[in-house]
């Protein structure tokens, strides 16, 4: 076994193990912390795939943004940590159905898609290529700009809602 494979198994185990703990922990705060550990595992996998930029973005957005938001929500919600409140409500079967459907679609895609491996080594300056592709008219400039406008609208909307009076 090469070093890469060992690391892949470690990061994969961390990701999956932490993800399993997220759904089984009774304590919501602990579940959120395990979710963060899972994010770290995914970031490690990105590093192994020679995509350090994606790894940093993963930490930045998911840990620094989304996880913090989840923690804030847990801390500011009343009765969130009360052990007497049931862990599921009456819609649990609906959620399970949706989760199962998503899992099926993802599994089917992973198993049936022909994953084309790029020829040769990964270019070392992938971050430059990524930057160029994002602003290239023949590349991803349209989705990039649409996302920016979406975020801008969300920002202005948040300011409008938070405004006093």
């Amino acid at each position: 076994m090469t070093l890469q494979q060992v690391l892949f198994i470690i990061f994969g185990a961390v990701t999956l193990g932490a993800a399993l703990m997220v759904v089984t922990r009774r304590n919501v705060f602990h579940a959120a912390l395990f979710l963060i550990l899972s994010f770290f595992g995914v970031a490690g996998l990105y590093v192994l795939l020679e995509a350090p930029f994606l790894a940093a973005v993963q930490l930045f957005i998911y840990v620094g943004g989304i996880a913090i938001l989840i923690l804030f929500a847990i801390m500011l919600t009343r009765d969130m940590m009360n052990p007497n409140v049931a862990g599921a409500n009456r819609q649990w079967w609906l959620a399970a159905l949706v989760a199962l459907a998503l899992c099926t679609v993802l599994g089917w895609t992973v198993l049936n898609h022909q994953w084309a491996a790029p020829a040769g080594d990964v270019p070392p300056e992938s971050i430059v290529n990524l930057g160029k592709a994002l602003v290239d008219p023949a590349g991803l400039v349209l989705p990039f700009e649409v996302t920016s406008i979406l975020l801008l609208v969300a920002l202005i909307g948040a300011v409008t809602i938070a405004r006093e009076r």
Binding site: F29, H30, L33, I36, P52, F53, A56, V57, L59, F60, V63, G64, G65, A67, I68, L71, F72, M75, P124, E125, I127
Partner: protein, 404 residues
């Protein structure tokens, strides 16, 4: 002598040769060399902090017209130089108290996480030409994304303690960090646009003229928002001892408290080093080409200069309230940072990097000075407007109160 001129770059291959000489396989020799290098790198901030704590106590005392640790009385060592060692021994021998209602796991892991994050930053800091832990091509972005790990540690400490002061402190700290991240990232973005790379080594090499004299507005923005990120005065509402005792680490005792204290100082020193690397030219200096080890000395001197400014603010600034802190960020720093990014992008495009260095520096500096002047004019106008509105309101109140 040749060996010591480039000591840090040479010691790795030398150690590797030595280990292979006694019959270790090449892979193991490499693993050992890298491990030793990593531990050595992690020891830099830890050792530096011992003396920085002493310097901070001494200098702040002088600024506040006190004497501070000195030769007289119970302080150990000349000029109380070993006071920090005495403090460390005291902390290590103290009882470790865990509150009954605390979330034991979360409570115990938090100080480990926070110290890990503080040490990890040092992997990408170039301490000299070819002297860097790992020259990641995402360098400065790696430093920024580690900040989110620090935030999680603060939340863990605040929540795990099961103490309302700790929770309030953690909420303040995270609100502080999340908001000041915006101008910080925008100012780093400006640096990256001018330097053309994320890598700390490339950013250092790009500074023919230190960036402080090319994009001064950005340097100020970065320094101010970094101060807020580490919760240093005037942003110490995070651990305001007169309001919420000590904030998120109020329940910690012994060496766990020591870990928070250490990581705080390490972060302070880290932002000084990063500011020195991004804006003061890092290890660049005279004679650095012939004697590379001098680069570390230049970097240290520049970092200490920035650290002195930090101490200066620490010793003299009053504390901001949370609304003032958020207003200052969202209504002043963030808009200025956004305009600054646009200005630098436009000027950088108009005078491309392959143009004459001095032309480019002049254009960027001119644009930045104009921007600074414009900001001051807008601020003055806004201040005048607010004052006039206040006066009219007061006049109206007086009129209302006195029946004519």
């Amino acid at each position: 002598m040749e060996f010591f001129n480039d000591f840090i770059a040479n010691v790795g291959p030398w150690l590797q040769g030595l280990l292979e000489g006694i019959g270790l396989p090449e892979v193991w020799a490499r693993v050992i060399v890298m491990g030793v290098g990593g531990i050595g790198l992690a020891l830099i901030p830890l050792v530096a902090v011992i003396f920085l704590i002493w310097a901070a106590r001494k200098l702040i005392a002088r600024m506040q017209d006190r004497i501070g640790p000195n030769n007289s009385g119970p302080y150990p060592g000349p000029y109380a130089l070993f006071q920090t060692f005495a403090d460390a021994i005291k902390m290590l021998t103290k009882e470790d108290v865990i509150p009954t209602a605390a979330d034991r796991w979360v409570f115990n892991i938090a100080p480990i996480v926070i110290l890990t994050v503080a040490v990890l930053i040092w992997a990408v800091i170039p301490v000299g030409k070819d002297m860097i832990g790992a020259d990641l091509n995402i360098g400065i972005f790696y430093v920024l994304s580690l900040g989110s790990g620090g935030m999680i540690a603060l939340m863990m400490a605040g929540w795990g303690s099961n103490n309302k002061y700790a929770l309030l402190g953690a909420l303040r700290a995270v609100a502080n960090m999340v908001s000041y991240e915006v101008p910080q990232i925008l100012s780093v973005l400006t640096v990256v646009m001018v330097a053309g790379s994320f890598s700390m080594q490339e950013i250092t090499k790009a500074q023919t003229v230190p960036f402080l004299f090319v994009i001064p507005v950005t340097a100020l923005l970065f320094f101010v928002s970094s101060l807020a990120e580490v919760g240093r005065q005037p942003y110490d509402l995070v651990e305001a001892d007169s309001e919420i005792v000590a904030g998120y680490f109020v329940e910690y005792s012994g060496m766990k408290f020591g870990q928070f204290y250490l990581s705080e100082f390490m972060n302070n020193f880290a932002i000084s080093v990063i500011t020195a690397t991004l804006f003061l030219g890092g290890w660049k200096g005279p004679f650095v080409d012939s004697v590379p080890i001098l680069g570390s000395l230049w970097l240290l001197l520049k970092s200490l200069l920035v650290f002195f400014v930090l101490l200066w603010l620490w010793g003299t600034m009053p504390r901001l309230r949370i609304d003032q802190m958020l207003n200052f960020n969202w209504k002043f720093l963030t808009p200025v940072a956004l305009v600054n990014v646009c200005v630098v992008a436009l000027v950088g495009k108009a005078v491309p990097p392959d143009a004459d260095v001095w032309l480019r520096v002049g254009a960027l500096l001119g644009a930045n000075v104009l921007l600074a002047l414009a900001v001051l004019v807008v601020l003055a106008a806004a201040g005048r407007l607010a004052r006039r509105r206040d006066e009219t309101r007061q006049a109206a109140q007086v009129e209302e109160a006195s029946p004519a």
